[in-house]
Amino acid sequence: MKFVDEYRDPTAAKALVAQITALSGDDHFKFMEVCGGHTHTIYRHGIEHVLPANVELVHGPGCPVCVIPMGRVDDAIAVAREPGVIFTSFGDMMRVPGSEGNLLTAKAEGADVRFVYSPLDALKIAMETPERQVVFFAVGFETTAPSTALTLLQAKARAIPNFTVFSNHVTIVPPLRAILESPDLRLNGFLGPGHVSTVVGQRPYRFVPSEYGLPLVTAGFEPLDILHAISMLLTQIREGRCEVENQYTRVVREEGNPSALAILSEVFELRPHFEWRGLGFISQSGLRLRPEFAAFDAELKYRIPGVRVADPKACQCGEVLKGVIKPWECKVFGTACTPETPIGTCMVSSEGACAAYYNFGRMHREAAVTLGRRSQLAV
């Protein structure tokens, strides 16, 4: 695979790290990677430990599974338990804890919960079992929301009477704004999300430099992409620029995917408020079905408890999602909370900061501490 080698070339990595070291000088920089995919790459490849100690990465809220609050999982389980319902969900959501168990335990207790890869699979189940009601548990940012939208357009065109969607889709910009408004965190810039940007493009991020005076560089998912994007952020800062830049030009276009955006706005509208795990209620951050699609809206068809449930006291996913603490600083990390028995969402999804760190990062970190390369890492 000659192509891949180019993105993992140690010489290129060394050159980038040298550039980052020179650019950062004696100042401390804190950059947030918004996307869970980036978090995964950073821990998988030990990027934190090749960076100079004064360039710090903090993990953001860009994991769609991680940001779903417990109350919404409870709502999903309540719908799944309705008589005659076939409740369909992406695999990632099955193990996310509600206040009393998760979708898998609901299934064990008799609810017909089925795992699907695509919303189209859920629609197909509805068409093949007309005597049952099929509900699709829709989660995700703008990366997955267009797929749900296109599925709903198909369901409407075919007048499928037994298919509804329980929408938990969210948008990327409002949580960024919430983080920028948070007094807890002092950032110097953002690594912009890769795949979400293939849909939304670069324009929605312009408020980051214009209103908050911080640079944002959209990055790819290879280790060299991350290093390159960090060096682009530092270059901007050193040159006195503050812009939205695109490191991931081989996939992300300035205008995003206009067809996907058009379909999104045809099917969905913004909710006044939506609750995010750890971030609380954020206005205009969640997507619900437009009135024209009311017949396909599970929230109108079923009684949704809609009870707000506080996160378990021990769980610090909120602070992890805001980048205020690192996964290993959480009191239950790796002891009460592991990928096998997650307490919080960040430990469930492979894109969650805690799961990524548990699976890969701690080995790199322990090795680094042992070697004394980063003495300030020692607890």
């Binding site: 995964h40 890869y117 189209l120 990366t143 267009p146 795949h195 995917n257 067809s259 492979s350």
Partner: protein
């Protein structure tokens, strides 16, 4: 769920329904390419697939890099690919 899987277009199995047959790491599946209408896709092109839909057109180089990145994820990638394999939109697809 949020992982993008690269696939290469083999044929357009249903132009009206925007369905196309793609090869993903040696596995052939049907996906929906309706969100890339403006790209004027042709067979041999590479796309990034999210939950059964092509979301972005990519080049071969990016496809190889994305696939390697996924493979390095180990279990998460295995699960995603296994899920992709079970997708009922493969085969005859939703009609």
């Amino acid at each position: 769920m949020c992982l993008g899987i690269p696939g290469q277009l083999k044929e357009f199995s249903d132009v009206h329904e925007h369905l196309a047959r793609v090869d993903v790491a040696g596995v052939t599946r049907i996906i929906n390419v309706g969100l890339l209408e403006e790209e004027r896709l042709k067979t041999g092109d590479w796309v990034l697939i999210h939950v059964g839909f092509a979301m972005a057109k990519i080049d071969e180089e990016e496809a190889a890099s994305a696939l390697a990145a996924l493979q390095s994820m180990g279990q998460a990638y295995e699960e995603e690919l296994a899920a992709f394999g079970t997708s009922s939109t493969s085969g005859e697809g939703v009609r």
